[in-house]
Amino acid sequence: MIHTCENGAISVQTLHTTMRFGAFTALDDVSIDIPAGTFHALLGENGAGKSTLVKCMMGFYNATSGELLVKGREARMTDPKVAQKLGLGMVYQHFTLVPSLTGAENLVISRADTPGLIDWRRETRALDAFMTKMPFHVPLDQPVSRLAAGEKQKLEIIKQLYLGNRFLILDEPTSVLTPAEADEVLGHVRALTQAGEITVLMITHKFREVSAFADDVSILRRGKYVGGGSVADMSIEDMSRAMMGEAPVISTRSRRDTVKQPLLTMNGIKARDRTGLKPIEIDDVTLHSGEILGIAGISGNGQMELMEILTGQRRMEQGDIRVNGAQYGATRAEARAHAIRYLPEEPLRNACAPRMSVAENIAFRMFDAGKDGKTAFWNDSGAIARNAATLIKAFNVKTSSPAARIASLSGGNVQRAVLGRELTGDVKALIVSNPCFGLDFAAVSSIRDRLVEARNQGTAILLISEDLDEIMELSDRILVMSEGRIAYETPIATANVEQIGQYMAGHH
């Protein structure tokens, strides 16, 4: 095994790593070899323990038992600082850039040897020189909170290279990127591994990325190592079988003919985007029952704001939303009366109370609903527990117990729990944003099945998604959002990916 490359890449091995959270074993005797200069993929379903494993490698968690070898020598990761000193760096699933600092400030402060007094003129010159060697570009003079998700992701990777880290861990780096952006970023990363400059361990749910970019793969299932090896020797079937413990079932979704009646209309809406600088304008959009209306667009073109307008989180300056002809202000009472449900993006932040339990979180729609349609005063803890048990089972939510804090669930499982809550009961309209972000493929397929099933039952679904494949697969009608406006509309029958792509990019 090669422990270091000429250009600096280093090797890492985990030996018999075990990690327990209380009585729950998140990792069970996992051993993985990653030789220097290779691109290694880590696969596993939601909650398999991927993030936990890499957090142990980075010293964020102290593994209950097991060893870690860096460059063939044992390393004790007691602290993220130790990992950094050894040249290990990680891009986390949730961004760790500091939002109100500029890109340049973020880079300089994350360095181990930041001088006490920062000479900005010199630093800027050094950063400019460094950036010319980088495969991609990001504006460094703006606060990170103003950057789009793709730019943040690039900056995270740039930061690791800037810090001189030679072993990079990427936790689902492409979940917030468009396929083209993902290919661009990963292509550059791959080139760096081939040049022997870095070693990469990437967590992903996308087989396409594994076969296109990775050399080797390791697969976890319920905290155990269940297979792996060279990507060249494994088929996608082999990988998915190891991941799920069985061959994937390809579902055939059938669309039934549905009665389409206007349900929700948005008229002449004007609002400000999240920076307060650019306008969002939605002139005339109607959502019908029994259809999936897909809204495509590159992240940062106003989809998030549209979602916030519909959930009542963002104030409209003008215009109105009507449901069945009545004014709709997205209050809880209105949403309940019209049976409108939501799955916003980042559900942990936008649709959960992170410190409350899983059971409480998935009871948010029912806990105050009395028998006769009135609001109940006393909580029925029995009903809440039953509701939790049913939904956790039906939506396959992996949690140590219904009483666990929802924030302790893995990313994908939070998504499932919220979707379970929102899809139960009589739902007339469902407004979802990127419902499959960060989900493993089995979950993706089951969630898409559920969406189509709901549509067949006559539910109106507004699907905001950055994944164009998802839009093409599920929608009856497609709108393209660009620069805060609806730029294009087409029924699925005449939809053409290239044309949509051009409208998404604003070339029209």
């Binding site: 600082k81 600092l101 006490g116």
Partner: protein, 308 residues
């Protein structure tokens, strides 16, 4: 020297003088709070720290005969209060606002307890620089009597703004205030950064207290502070966590505070005491005017329990 009749000119002049005189404690407390809040913690106890700073400064100045030793003692006492606050907040499940309120009452109680013997004796005052020497109008001279601490406060505001931008310490404080997770990922210990920021903030508030007892009003009474410590915390929000804005906000607040006495001095006595409420009314109006229903509070450190 004979007082010269300068008519209505007395009003702006008195306001200017008042602004400089009244604003100094606001400057120190709000800069201290600004530093603490930028690290992601709120210290509501600064009112108590201010009062305790006032008595410890007064007592030490009286015992040693040196007002500067008094200021130093007040800063030390303030730092101790800050350390205590920061240390308690380190524990899981402790709320910084609740601790702050307790610390405020604790500081005031302790100050009144130790302050009993110092109500009578007169401690030496802090010196002021007569910037009005060029004029022979006594009103101008009085208005331009600038205390050293005011000048120090102005320099400190600029220095702190520069620190947040161009020093490692400043950036570290901002990182911790914005994202505990990011700080941890960088290997920074958020608790110790917050502890030290709270201590430094307390020290500044202590200095503000020494100004009260050693210069203006210049004696120790139990009513030495009229809520300056609390108002200064509101000023920080109004100043959007920017040290230089804190300075201007404090000055504005001091100036409006001097409105009542200034009008009185030119003979407007009808309802002049209503003008004593002017700074509070002004703060309310400005806070409402600068707020927005759409944007989150701009510049607010994201880890602050106010904005979470």
């Amino acid at each position: 020297m004979e007082p010269v009749e300068i008519g209505l000119w007395g009003v702006p002049l008195a306001i200017l003088g008042g602004a400089i005189r009244v604003s100094t404690p606001f400057i120190f407390v709000s800069l201290g709070e600004c530093l603490t809040e930028r690290s992601g913690r709120i210290n509501l106890g600064l009112e108590g720290t201010l009062v305790f700073g006032a008595i410890s400064g007064y007592a030490v100045a009286y015992e040693t005969g040196n007002p500067f030793l008094g200021v130093l003692a007040a800063a030390l006492a303030g730092a101790c209060f800050g350390l205590l606050h920061g240390w308690i907040c380190k524990f899981k499940g402790v709320n910084d606002i609740a601790v702050g309120i307790a610390m405020m009452l604790f500081g005031m109680g302790l100050a009144f307890f130790f302050g009993k013997p110092y109500i009578q004796p007169q401690a030496p005052d802090l010196p002021a620089i007569p910037f009005g020497w060029w004029s022979d109008t006594p009103q101008v001279q009085a208005a331009l009597q600038v205390n050293i601490l005011f000048i120090l406060g102005a320099i400190l505001a600029v220095a702190m703004a520069w620190m947040f931008k161009s020093t490692r310490v400043g950036l570290t404080v901002r990182v911790v205030g914005d994202s505990t997770d990011a700080a941890r990922a960088m290997g920074i210990n958020p608790n110790s950064v917050r502890l030290l920021s709270t201590a430094a903030g307390g020290a500044l508030a202590g200095i503000g207290g020494a100004y009260l007892s050693l210069y203006y009003p210049g004696s120790w009474t139990e009513g030495v502070s009229s809520g300056q410590g609390l108002m200064a915390i509101a000023l920080v929000i109004f100043a959007r966590w920017n040290p230089i804005n804190c300075f201007w906000a404090a000055l504005l607040f001091g100036g409006t505070g001097a409105l009542g006495p200034a009008l009185q001095s030119v003979g407007i006595s009808e309802g002049y005491y209503l003008f004593f409420a002017a700074p509070y009314v002004l703060t309310l109006i400005l806070l409402i005017m600068t707020s927005s229903p759409d944007r989150a509070m701009q510049g607010a450190p994201l880890e602050l329990s106010l904005t979470k």
